[in-house]
Symmetry: C2
Subunit: 310 residues, 2 copies
């Protein structure tokens, strides 16, 4: 199956990503087999408030990348659905332009309330698409909030989308996206207020302290529905990727991503060993004692870690 996935066979890729979503024990072997074949894909995170046109923009980007002969993977990640499961209705519909294109692999992922969460699953799903020969992996987050920002910031390049009429200046500042964008796109640029959003954004970005030689995030205007400006976005993504290569920042970012991936795997394994999944365990007894005021959380954590009481 790993061999079939490496050849880019859609069914094998789908199976491997399902294994990631299901936290399959066999992933250990899969990841060991894939590891030597990773590191080729350009990983682009795409985030923004609801209504700015994330899926239309993703669709337009895929079209341009395909026209340039690139193989593309899309992960639509929904951090807000640990409770409700599948908030990704319309996923197939909206990407139907590319549904029959063998050079595009599209997949929705939800946190599903699993133990490891998206910090665990997203990098592993990226790893699968990377090893399957995707030149570009787009990680689109659905919704807005800290988790979304974190998922997008885990990419090589983070693309932040805004649009006029969303009160986006304040929202951007609140969500912390001014700190994470490598490329900013003001979509719906044919609408009233788009110029103002660009000016506000440039103003806010110019106020940030940036050391000499640091990347200066460009602001691109697009109308994703017509494709206007999308070529420029692709050009800026390439320019950023080159900059990442030249400065050694690419390696630094990927090491950071690998670091988070390793920590997530290790922490998840530990929590499983503590019985933090299926109830009745030492952890439950400790938590009950803490809730009753008979113990304190530090003493309980010590017990959990097998450390002697101080």
């Amino acid at each position: 199956m790993v061999a079939a996935a490496r050849e880019g066979q859609p069914r094998a890729v789908a199976r491997l990503i399902s294994m990631v979503e299901d936290e399959s024990p066999a992933l250990r072997e899969v990841m060991a087999a894939l590891a030597p074949h990773t590191g080729r894909a350009q990983v682009v995170g795409l985030t923004g408030s609801p209504g700015v046109g994330k899926s239309t923009s993703t669709n337009a980007l895929v079209t341009r990348l395909r026209a340039a002969g690139k193989r593309v993977g899309v992960l639509a990640v929904d951090p807000s659905s640990p409770f409700s499961g599948g908030a990704l209705l319309g996923d197939r519909i909206r990407m139907s332009d590319h549904a029959s294109d063998a050079g595009v692999y599209i997949r929705s992922m939800a946190a599903r309330g699993h133990l490891g969460g998206l910090a665990w699953s997203t990098p592993q799903a990226i790893r699968v698409l990377d090893a399957a020969g995707c030149d570009v992996v787009l990680v689109e987050t659905v919704g807005v909030g800290q988790s979304e920002v974190e998922v997008a910031a885990r990419a090589d390049t983070t693309l932040v989308l805004l649009a006029p009429g969303m009160g986006d200046g304040i929202q951007a500042a609140k969500a912390g996206i001014l700190e994470i964008g490598d490329v900013y796109v003001v979509n719906k640029a044919d609408r009233d207020g788009a110029d103002q959003v660009r000016r506000d954004l440039r103003g806010m970005l110019s106020m940030a302290d940036r050391p000499a030689g640091a990347w200066r995030a460009p602001v691109v205007a697009t109308v994703a529905s017509s494709g206007d400006g999308v070529d420029e976005v692709v050009a800026e993504l390439d320019r950023h990727h080159s900059w990442l290569h030249e400065t050694g920042e690419l390696r630094r970012r990927r090491t950071r991503r690998a670091r988070e991936e390793v920590v997530a795997i290790a922490v998840t394994a530990l929590r499983r060993s503590w019985g933090d999944v299926d109830g009745r365990s030492e952890l439950d007894a400790l938590a009950e004692a803490v809730a009753a005021g008979e113990s304190d959380p530090y003493a309980a954590a010590d017990r959990l870690l097998g450390a002697p009481a101080p």
Copy 2:
């Protein structure tokens, strides 16, 4: 200082919560001393989209609770500010009705990008306010998203705020708040569309599968700015608290909160031991090998945990 905090001296309480925010090593002793004095406060989480009137509602609730002679602690938690730091402008201003009231303790908390995050700090801050004699601790989340929902859901009682004109039906479904609310409040009930929001909400809530004997979340209409309906909210909070007591659900929820608190402390201690804070460590070397494709994340996690390679 612990003794002074238990007497409710504001400066001592402030110091202890600052120790939580700073992840002070001395917290271990503080929490051991506080543990026997916890478990009295009713912990209420308050969440909702931006613009529904969370701070006005908190303010109105505090007024009613104070009129009933209760001591109140307010934690305004901002999960979206690990990047930007202080998104809590206007915090003192909006709560200025209660600024000179010794029976109200108000505190803003941001994730600050610390290792443990809000899963680590929020329950410990609640613990301090509880031990300091607060009858009610209100945990208000600022912003919207999974983290906000999680923080609010960690309470004894979760109050979800909505308002007309926010497209809140869909937003509610997306953010998973239909699963977490114990009491729903439709604020700005004097505005057009409020009745529709109530109807939609009741309709969506009635479709949920609930076992016999389960709590049926009420929907209350308020105009927080004038205080209309707030007495009813307080009555529903009390009714839910009684239900929690009678059914044993209170103990179950508090055990779950203690469990998350213990796990967060244990995981944070481990990550610190792995050097996942200040760079240059075995973890960095492992992450570099994974990023370079020389190792896979599972093998690296095994090394981190000191397990023999399988």
